[in-house]
């Protein structure tokens, strides 16, 4: 398992990274700007982002309370996690490259990578609508 400090993750772009296109900045006002209901047609401004390389600012949060480095995390728009449970369209489920882990950073971070939009189900339940193959995580 490769464990790297966040700043070095930047270098991973050259190894694991997607084409060197300029990432499109995306904000939570767009991602979370509508009332999500299961099975709905997602807004075009959101579906247009599918499979694009994007850059999103937010706060890292573990999927489950704990400690130690992670290979995947949630990116949300709430600094303290105390504003209530985030809605499905307020969470980007980020996964680092295989074998790479990092500590969960506090404060605002910028995550860059390939973005996927669409309901993903498990046992009939929607478990996410936004996912990202995160190439870089930097303190904003």
């Amino acid at each position: 398992m490769l464990r790297l400090p966040s700043t070095l993750l930047l270098l991973l772009t050259t190894v694991f990274g997607h084409p060197a296109t300029e990432p499109e900045p995306v904000g939570f006002p767009v991602l979370a700007g509508f009332a999500y209901k299961e099975g709905m047609t997602l807004p075009k401004e959101v579906t247009d982002l599918d499979e694009k390389v994007v850059q999103i600012r937010g706060f890292m949060r573990r999927e489950f309370a704990g400690s130690g480095p992670v290979n995947s995390f949630m990116l949300i728009n709430d600094a303290c996690g105390c504003m209530g449970t985030p809605m499905m369209n307020e969470i980007v489920f980020c996964t680092l490259p295989d074998g790479v882990t990092m500590e969960v950073l506090t404060g605002v971070v910028t995550v860059t990578g390939k973005f996927y939009v669409g309901e993903q189900k498990e046992d009939g339940d929607v478990i996410l609508i936004y996912a990202m193959d995160a190439d870089t995580v930097t303190i904003a």
Binding site: G33, D78, A79, T85, F93, T106, V108, E122, D125, I127
Partner: protein
């Protein structure tokens, strides 16, 4: 024929509906323990929609694992479900009145929504007439909720979400606001307005309009923008087709267009907000206590010993130069290598701008040198006549001291 139709429609639903207590226990376990957030959310919704049938399984889980093992997602799902029933109402009351429970404010929101439904039972709507079905009438009665008396002890709670949800309940039943202190937390003003709008009330909209121009930060955290997004979404939902076409790039113009639409739809006289800018210029350090129990506290300081209190830094005090210089020189005591402890809800975030340190500390996890430094800061504040603030800080910081 109708029975046959019902059987055809209901069969697939019933196939997934838990048939016995063991299945409810399994759903509760998933809602609390699944490593996947999405699965926890889905299971929580299923448990919440189960109403009274699921309550025994929730209580059994609580008994076995402790109340604070319940995640916020489960409490939020139960708070928001329309399965208003007696057993879930009692469950929420038990949670809301437990000051040790992390998610008591979520339970309070659930009680506020139930109070509103009890005080104003929804009119019976005929689906046959092609109208959407409204919220169901509660299948229980509760005099203290219906009158709003239940909320009285919490309308000035130190935790902002707790008092906001209590005030929300009071407002929904039309209880007079006498006894409520003036709200100073901008987050609370926006949240209460948004909650009331969502429930079909028309509160004064100026707090939402103000939030649209809020760019304030606390130790680099852009909380003003977050408020603006919440306000914009609330206004968007409320205005629906009357929400104006806005394009990025000119915030003033967009705000003016939204304000004009809100003014036309509400009949309220609204004023264009002045942009509130980042407030942490010159700040060299600080900390935030996020506490569902004691309330959030925000402290930040400049190099010359000016200390700002509140998320908006609206209240300040100047510490004596000699005492402050001594503290400043010893500030490495609060330098931590990384996060300390496992944060579930309450946390202390320490920030030193010059070294770039920003760490989260869980209750009972603050190393002794840092704890001692914060105590000295509190003592210095007390000596500078900030007696009440010092007492609040002592209370808030106490739970983070290492054991």
């Amino acid at each position: 024929m109708r029975l046959l139709l019902l059987a055809v429609v209901a069969a697939p639903i019933l196939a997934f509906w838990p048939q016995g207590p063991d299945e409810w226990s399994e759903h509760v376990r998933k809602a609390c323990e699944s490593s996947r957030f999405g699965i926890r959310l889905a299971a929580a919704k299923r448990v919440a929609d189960g109403g009274d049938a699921a309550v025994t399984a929730i209580q059994a889980y609580e008994k076995a694992n402790g109340r604070n093992a319940l995640p916020s997602s489960l409490v939020d799902a139960i708070a928001d479900t329309l399965a208003y029933s007696n057993a879930t109402n009692e469950l929420l009351k038990g949670w809301a009145t437990d000051t040790e429970f992390y998610w008591r404010s979520s339970a309070m929101r659930g009680l506020a929504l139930r109070a509103g439904a009890l005080a104003h039972p929804p009119a019976v709507v005929s689906p046959a007439a092609g109208e959407p079905e409204g919220k169901p009438a509660p299948a229980f009665d509760d005099a203290s909720l219906k009158s709003g008396e239940f909320f009285d002890p919490y309308v000035n709670d130190p935790a902002w979400l707790m008092r906001t949800h209590a005030r929300f309940g009071s407002a929904l039943v039309g209880r007079p606001i006498a006894g409520q202190s003036t709200e100073a937390d901008p987050r609370a003003l926006v949240r209460l307005t948004r909650l009331l709008l969502d429930e079909g009330q028309l509160p004064p909209l100026q707090p939402l309009i103000e939030a649209l121009a809020d760019q304030r930060t606390f130790l680099g955290i852009p909380w003003g923008q977050r408020l603006g997004q919440e306000a914009n979404k609330a206004l968007h939902n409320w205005l629906a087709k009357d929400y104006p076409e806005v394009t990025g790039g000119d915030r003033d113009k967009s705000t003016a267009a939204i304000m004009a639409a809100a003014q036309a739809n509400s009949g309220q006289q609204l004023t264009q907000p002045k942009e509130q800018v980042a407030t942490d210029n010159g700040i060299v350090g600080g900390f935030e206590i996020a506490s569902c129990k004691f309330g959030d506290q925000f402290v930040q300081w400049t190099a010359d010993g000016t200390v700002f209190f509140g998320i908006d830094g609206a209240r300040t005090t100047k510490l004596p130069a000699d005492k402050w210089q001594e503290l400043l020189q010893q500030r490495t005591a609060i330098t931590l290598d990384g996060n300390a402890g496992v944060v579930v809800c309450d946390k202390l975030q320490l920030v030193l701008v010059d070294t770039g340190m920003r760490v989260d500390v869980a209750p009972e996890s603050l190393p002794n040198p840092a704890s001692e430094w914060l105590k000295r800061l509190t003592q210095t504040l007390e000596e500078a006549n900030e007696t009440e603030r010092a007492a609040n800080l002592r209370r808030g910081l106490g739970q983070f001291e290492g054991r």
